[in-house]
């Protein structure tokens, strides 16, 4: 807890750097994909997502207020960390994509497949997922800008969360429906 007493935005910067490093690692590994199947699974990929939450959760909202009130903690301005959430999520998707391609590569390497052809197909697979993730990434930021700039979308947090859960429920319902159809 002591680090939050001395923290200002400096701590937040450290978390951003760490998250960006993991993000870059995800992109690099996905694009330099080699499906030897020997690559270990990156169990720490979710750290990229967890990292920005830590300073935010202790500095803002109910927990932050409680800590400030009780222990007179500083409340550093860590909100801007939230801007890198999509980056962290992007890195998770790309690392997962890389792991999937590697897994298939490993399974297929002993099945008599033409290795070059297999690499090319897995490359297409990785590239397509990358493009979809990139589209989602750009659209995510555009949606956020729309929420900030357009007065219609500039609603409070609680209504925003309610809208989110409504969309979430519809999406999950459709996913399950699609699964059942299959």
């Amino acid at each position: 807890m002591l680090i939050f007493l001395i923290s200002t935005t400096f701590i937040a910067y450290i978390f951003i750097i760490l998250a960006l490093l993991i993000f870059l690692l995800g992109i690099l590994m996905a694009n330099n994909h080699r499906s030897t199947g020997e690559e270990p699974k990156n169990r720490f990929k979710f750290i990229a997502i967890l990292l920005p939450f830590i300073p935010i959760i202790f500095s803002r909202g109910y927990i932050g207020s409680h800590l400030t009130f009780l222990y007179a903690f500083n409340t550093p301005d860590t909100v801007f960390i939230a801007l890198i959430f999509p980056l962290a999520e992007f890195s998770v998707v790309m690392l997962s994509n890389y792991e999937s391609a590697s897994f298939i590569g490993k399974r297929s390497s002993t099945g008599g497949y033409d290795i070059q052809d297999m690499e090319s197909e897995l490359g297409r697979f990785t590239k397509t997922i990358f493009l979809i993730a990139l589209a989602a990434f750009v659209l995510g930021y555009l949606s956020y800008i729309a929420v900030l700039t357009l007065p219609t979308f500039n609603i409070g947090l609680i209504p925003a969360i309610i809208v989110f859960f409504a969309v979430y429920a519809i999406l999950m319902r459709n996913t399950i429906k699609k699964t059942e159809q299959e």
Partner: protein, 436 residues
């Protein structure tokens, strides 16, 4: 893959919920930025996935020769689905892929996709083979659905004909040690159109020779009458192929039966080209009602018939081969006095039965040449190449002399070691003794 992507997509969807809870705890609207990415990503994937649709177009030959290499060209086309297709393309038993591969992955994105796969196959054994179906496993990117197995029927057969050697008279050594008569040994050739007489029907007589009018006139007996036509004076040769389990020593593509087939076909091709009559019989199992046979005649049609039979012929496992000439064979032998060439592989279990069979053929009037295919060399080939030398004919001949003693003296026995000797050499030995 399926488990991987299921986990990942579920994780991404859960992530959105997780971020929302944090946004609520931190009472910070900026955090909802972290909700947009997973929601949009999953939304794009779910709503771009269509039902899978895949079709295959085959460009595969219908016929090839043993040892030939043929190109299998397959076009894979997919207009639906979003994921990986793991495809296993058709082959057949008794072949080997010499170039390329029949398994491949194909990733189908949102756009229509087609892919050409070419591989080269070498046929290792004769036969008519049904091509295997194409097994396709569809692994959707969405991952939440189970992977789906699709089978595309090939519904095609491939005929692998035996590779034969074109034998020439010049390659035979005709200085035979056996004294041969100056005139043709077989006195009778194929029937001409000149009527000779009428006699009772005997099994083996062609149905077209039945004289229905004469049969009807003699209604007191239930026997059929046939017309007998004068025969042309060409030599008659009959090949008899043993189908016992002794012919299976070795592998499915290298055993006495497989070596016998090109030898018979090469001999038949040579003899029919000379205008001789060639017939064919095969030994049959006790359980089989009848065996395939070809009445002696000449011409390309006889060769084609023989080839059709020999593509399908298979040995019978177990010790239930009936070594006894059937009525049709006995009749043909007694009528044409042919040169009979019996292709077999003698061992300690079957030599007595084969000797008895040989005696029966000779008694019926055949001039018999027995070709004993040696299997020791074939076995050694699959163990140690350098051991082939140990199984030379001289060594084996000594070991087999005990078996040969029980054969009738009028039966000429020759040996062939197919692992070390060519078909041409075997044919020349046959030619020498059988008077080709």
């Amino acid at each position: 893959m399926i488990k991987e992507w299921s986990k990942q997509l579920i994780t991404i969807v859960l992530l959105a919920g997780f971020v929302a809870i944090f946004a609520l705890l931190a009472t910070e609207k900026t955090i909802i930025l972290g909700i947009f990415f997973p929601i949009i990503f999953v939304f794009i994937i779910i709503y771009t996935v269509k039902d899978e649709d895949i079709s295959l177009t085959f460009d595969i030959p219908n016929r090839m020769k043993v040892g030939d290499e043929a190109l299998f060209h397959i076009r894979i086309k997919s207009s639906g689905g979003f994921g990986l297709f793991n495809i296993s393309l058709p082959t057949f038993s008794e072949m080997e892929i010499v170039e390329g591969t029949n398994v491949c992955l194909m990733f189908k994105s949102i756009k229509e996709r087609s892919k050409d796969v070419t591989y080269k196959i070498k046929a290792t054994r004769r036969g008519i083979f049904e091509l295997t179906d194409s097994d396709i496993t569809y692994i959707p990117v969405i991952g939440m659905v189970r992977k789906k197995k699709i089978t595309v029927k090939t519904s095609k057969t491939i005929e692998v004909v035996p590779a034969i050697s074109m034998l020439k008279k010049s390659q035979f050594q005709f200085r035979s040690k056996v004294i041969k008569p100056r005139i043709a040994i077989s006195r009778l050739g194929p029937p001409s159109t000149d009527f000779e007489s009428i006699r009772d029907y005997i099994p083996g007589d062609p149905y077209k020779t039945i004289n229905w009018k004469a049969t009807a006139r003699r209604n007191s007996q239930d026997k059929l009458l046939v017309n007998v036509y004068e025969r042309e004076g060409m030599k008659t040769f009959i090949f008899i192929l043993d189908r016992g389990s002794n012919m299976l020593m070795g592998t499915t593509s290298q055993n006495p039966l497989e070596y016998s087939i090109p030898l018979i076909l090469s001999g038949a091709k040579y003899l029919t080209s000379k205008g001789s009559n060639v017939g064919f019989w095969e030994t049959r199992a006790y359980t089989e009602p009848k065996s395939s046979y070809i009445q002696p005649s000449s011409g390309g049609d006889t060769y084609n018939k023989l080839q059709r039979i020999l593509i399908r012929v298979e040995a019978v496992k177990g010790r239930n081969i009936k070594y006894k000439p059937d009525k049709a064979l006995s009749h043909i032998i007694s009528e044409t006095l042919p040169q009979v060439m019996f292709i077999t592989s003698i061992n300690s279990l079957n030599y007595a039965a084969i000797a008895e069979f040989s005696s029966a053929l000779i008694s019926a009037g055949a001039r018999l040449t027995l070709m004993d295919i040696l299997t020791q060399g074939i076995s050694a080939k699959f163990r140690r190449e350098d051991l082939i030398g140990l199984f030379q004919r001289k060594v084996i001949k000594g070991a087999k002399s005990e078996f040969y003693k029980v054969f009738p003296t009028r039966c000429s026995i020759i040996q062939w070691e197919p692992a070390a000797e060519s078909i041409g050499l075997a044919a020349s030995r046959l030619a020498m003794l059988a008077g080709w």
